[in-house]
């Protein structure tokens, strides 16, 4: 391996450590879908946190927050993750069953 390659490896390692440090505070949170209901219906998270939705129903669902994010169709046991990079209230719903609604509050 050349010196340059070793050097760039070192930089990559350093970058990884830095990223790891920066995200040490970031949390992974979960919302489940059972019986056409998002649980919890309202979730408070911090900027940088990632929320993962998991569909436990035998019917596909989606997660759509108008203008913010839109999942593909999640079949049974399908998941969708989104990392919130700015504060605000993110109302969302299932575009197939619009009576299913939820809220992520990002602080």
């Amino acid at each position: 391996m050349t010196y340059a390659a070793l050097r760039s490896l070192g930089l990559a390692a350093a970058a990884t450590i830095l990223l790891g440090f920066a995200s040490a505070q970031a949390e992974e949170l979960k919302v489940t879908i059972d019986n056409f209901t998002f649980t919890p219906a309202e979730l408070k998270v911090k900027v940088g946190d990632t929320v993962t939705w998991t569909n436990h129903d035998d019917i596909p669902h989606t997660v759509v927050s108008a203008g913010k994010y839109r999942s593909k169709t999640m079949d049974t046991d399908g998941t969708f993750s989104f990392t919130f990079t700015s504060a605000g209230d993110y109302k969302y719903f299932c575009s197939l069953h619009p009576h299913m609604t939820g809220m992520i509050k990002v602080e």
Binding site: D57, D58, I59, P60, L96, H99, M100
Partner: protein, 316 residues
């Protein structure tokens, strides 16, 4: 299926509106329709055809075939669709055509559409489709439109005449709003108003769409946000029949000149409104499944106020 305990018989004239509404609260057992005039009891379709040779136009409704569904409520949705088509083929007097009120597939996959087509085409009937939300899941909403969208407007609505009646296929599964129900949208409503212009008020109208156009149970999203506007345009017509799917059970009500009817699924049953924590596939004993799946036959005789609708389960 148990007979309900309200003292309604064939003649609806004696039934107050309040009574009808009372019945609505427990509807979903498939019994409600016995109280409406002109609507026969559920009979085996083959028996019915033998007993009274239907005069006039007969067409069939199938719905919610959910090809691709393989969960415990019915691991073989293709098999039960095949059985339904077998029932269709056993009818002595060949129906004029068939309508499919959506959710042909479970996940809008090309193979699911192909399998559905392979089975449904065995009936050798013209089929008029409207999409369900399960048919519009592919990124570009292309598979349904490529197959069934020819000659339709917007997401797939259209109308045609047959046997002296006017048929209107509507799409209420697109652009749904958070917290809301099914949705037709301004453009489609405008088209509908235009489509009905100049039609004779004595011409029977049959409207079909996936999600019920009337509010069945909003807590589960079973209704159409702007359905009332569509029904406004249908006021003044002597005979209006609204055929829907989506809720996977027979439900019927009559309001003035309008008969509302939902068909069974050929794939899996769903609970009656409010009897479970949520809608969704309902697992029943294997022996009971085929009693909860089925097809509907609609007979229209010139001069009759109401179209006769016969719901036939795959098995009693």
């Amino acid at each position: 299926m148990s007979h309900h305990d309200h003292d309604h018989h064939d003649d609806q004239r004696g039934v107050s509106r309040r009574k009808v509404l009372e019945c609505m609260t427990w509807a979903g057992t498939g019994v409600l329709w016995t109280l409406t005039g002109g609507v026969p009891r559920s009979l085996g379709l083959v028996d019915a055809a033998n007993a009274a040779e239907p005069a006039g136009l007969t067409f069939l409704q199938i719905s919610d075939s959910h090809i691709g569904f393989d969960k415990p409520a019915n691991p073989n949705a293709a098999g039960t669709l095949e059985e339904a088509i077998g029932k269709v083929n056993a009818i002595q007097k060949k129906p004029s055509f068939m309508i499919h009120t959506g959710d042909i597939t479970h996940l809008s996959k090309a193979a699911e559409f192909d399998n559905a087509e392979k089975i449904i085409s065995q009936a050798k009937l013209d089929v008029h489709y409207v999409p369900g939300e399960h048919d519009f899941l592919d990124e570009e909403i292309k598979f349904y439109k490529d197959r069934y969208g020819k000659g339709t407007k917007g997401p797939g609505y259209y109308s045609f005449d047959a046997g002296g009646a006017h048929f209107i296929g509507l799409v209420n599964v697109v652009d749904l709003k958070a917290g809301g129900l099914g949705n037709l949208g301004a453009e489609q409503l405008e088209w509908l108003e235009d489509d009905l212009k100049g039609k004779s008020k004595s011409m029977p109208i049959v409207v079909f769409a996936h999600i019920p156009l009337w509010t069945v149970y909003p807590q589960w999203g079973w209704g159409t946000e702007d359905g009332a506007r569509a029904l406004d345009y249908l006021k003044g017509f002597g005979s209006v029949t609204v055929l829907n799917g989506h809720i996977h059970q027979v439900m019927q009500k009559v309001e003035g000149n309008v008969t509302f009817h939902t068909a069974r699924s050929t794939a899996f049953p769903q609970p009656a409104p409010g009897t479970a924590p949520s809608p969704g596939p309902m697992k029943v004993e294997d022996a009971k499944l085929r009693g909860l799946l089925g097809i509907a036959s609609v007979n229209f005789k010139q001069g009759d106020q109401r179209l006769a609708i016969i719901d036939t389960p795959l098995a009693g």
